[in-house]
């Protein structure tokens, strides 16, 4: 069923009783050309682009829970492409361009809202660093504007501009950045992939990989063995566990990242704003809740829940930026498991084993990357060559020294 204003009107006249499920609940077949492990944003996007761009439709996505039950539903929904390094900028800009046409591509409202992403700076040195990043972005064809204090104040007047320690001096603005409806991204990709014949298999946990010689030729699951020409992993925080099934160790630690939403209030803040003197970012959802987050907890975790010190730390940063936040009550908070890589940048590459492909290391920047990640991963799987904008995301870059370390903190995943 194609969604349009006419289908909506038609259904409205019939009491909305004719809507059909957005995708089939498929059962596994004996074999596929490609099995994608992980029914989150990246896995579903990969399935969509394999089917729509490369004509490979004999594909299964296997998911241990329900579709979109992991990080795609646990993030703060921010999309942006404000990166400094040449290995990153073109990739994230491709992602931004795919976001801009995603609703038409998927025939699904993912509520992309380009309301701007503003990074605040608080010192001369930080202004210079932001100016450099803004210039690097413009050289790569990405929009960016360096704002002074008055321009920022006109956009977001409620912050503490004269904070004794961290006065706001200005900000770097990417107007094309913004937010998208995170669950709808998973649902939209799922529906689009399903319509092209991809089997979306839920409640199907991978328990092992079928190996013949140096080749991976299928997966063992809780719903039986499924054979495949190619097996592609897009499992975020569980990457190391899946890789261990193939006898591989990865340059990744799994860490918990918490996010928060306040009670719903009238419109307070238009775009996304990040505090430059601590780690805090905030935006307002369409329901009115302020959505915010900060640092990861900083220790290895698979628990999908965090601890109180980081909550206190995030809220302290929030209060330093925006004292009025203290009048709001916290409605919910939650945790997701991040695949923190050793240089803070992702991996989209072959593995040393034939037939096994890896998409991992997204740290806490995975959501904005969803379209390009799926696009480039599908390109790699279909053609066995890396997509040009993702060519730097090699698994062997750690051994060869070609790291992509935006923050420059070295092989310490909890600092990225």
């Amino acid at each position: 069923m194609r969604y349009s204003v006419f289908s909506l009107l038609g259904q409205a006249l019939r009491g909305h009783r004719g809507w059909t499920p957005a995708w089939r609940d498929a059962s596994p077949k004996a074999a596929y050309d490609v099995i994608i492990v992980g029914g989150g944003g990246h896995g579903l996007a990969t399935a969509h682009y394999l089917a729509s761009r490369h004509g490979i439709t004999n594909v299964a996505v296997v998911e241990k829970g329900y579709l979109g039950s992991g990080n795609v539903g646990r993030n703060t929904t921010i999309i942006r492409s404000n990166y400094l390094l040449p290995g990153n900028t073109p990739f994230y800009e491709l992602s931004m361009k795919l976001w801009e046409g995603l609703e038409q591509d998927l025939n699904y409202n993912v509520m992309v809202s380009q309301r701007g992403v503003l990074n605040l700076y608080h010192s001369d040195a930080q202004r210079d660093a932001y100016a450099r990043r803004g210039n690097a972005m413009r050289l790569a064809g990405v929009d960016s504007e360096l704002l002074d204090r008055d321009q920022v104040r006109a956009m977001v007047p409620m912050f503490d501009y004269d904070n004794a320690r961290f006065p706001i001096r200005g900000g770097l603005l990417q107007r094309r950045g913004g937010t998208a409806r995170h669950d709808a991204v998973a649902w939209g990709y799922a529906r689009a992939a399903d319509q092209r014949g991809v089997d979306l298999i839920q409640n199907c946990e991978v328990t092992g990989l079928v190996r013949e010689g140096g080749l991976i030729v299928g997966v063992e699951t809780t719903r039986g063995t499924i054979r495949a020409g190619k097996v592609a992993l897009a499992v975020a925080g569980n990457s190391s566990r899946l890789a261990a099934m193939a006898g591989l160790r990865l340059p990744i630690e799994s860490h918990v990242l918490q996010a928060f939403v306040s009670e719903g209030v009238k419109p307070l803040i238009d775009g996304v704003v990040t505090f430059g003197a601590g780690h805090f970012y905030v935006s307002q959802s369409d329901k009115g809740g302020l959505v915010f987050g900060g640092d990861i907890d900083g220790y290895n975790s698979y628990a999908q829940r965090g601890n109180l010190p980081v909550i206190e730390d995030v809220l302290e940063s929030g209060m330093a930026l925006w004292p009025g936040l203290g009048r709001l009550r916290l409605l919910r908070h939650w945790g997701g498991i991040m695949d923190m890589s050793m240089d803070g940048s992702p991996i989209i590459d072959h593995t040393p084993l034939g037939g096994l492909y890896l998409n991992s290391g997204w740290c806490y920047g995975g959501f904005k990357a969803t379209p390009a990640s799926g696009y480039c991963f599908a390109h790699l799987i279909a053609t066995d060559t890396p997509h040009p904008v993702a060519a730097a995301y090699r698994l062997d870059r750690f051994a060869t020294g070609h790291l992509i370390d935006e923050k420059g903190v070295g092989a310490q995943p909890n600092l990225h």
């Binding site: 569980n238 190391s240 566990r241 630690e253 750690f398």
Partner: protein, 91 residues
């Protein structure tokens, strides 16, 4: 999360800094290869389950500790001073 420090008793995790996996042995000797060094610096087991890891009690005894913790539940099973790890005298 509270970490039962062998010197200071159970203390809030906020007092500690985290480093990572505890049992990495830096490759050394005449046969040392670049690949072995890269593996040592970058590759991790990253298990879902029991994990031995290094924490520094900066706001307490200022000792490095080896904490055995379940990464699925955050339950801490054992804590020992890291200096007990050193089995041979470097002299």
């Amino acid at each position: 999360m509270r970490i039962p420090c062998p010197h200071c008793g159970a203390r809030d995790a906020q007092e500690f800094s985290y480093l990572g996996a505890a049992d990495l042995t830096r490759p050394d000797g005449p046969g040392l290869s670049q690949g072995a060094m890269a593996d040592h610096v970058y590759l991790r087991d990253n298990p879902a389950g029991p994990h031995r890891e290094l924490w520094y009690h900066g706001a307490g005894c200022q000792e490095w500790l080896v904490v055995a913790r379940d990464t699925r539940t955050h339950e801490i099973c054992a804590v020992e001073p890291a200096r007990t790890l050193r089995t041979e005298d470097p002299a």
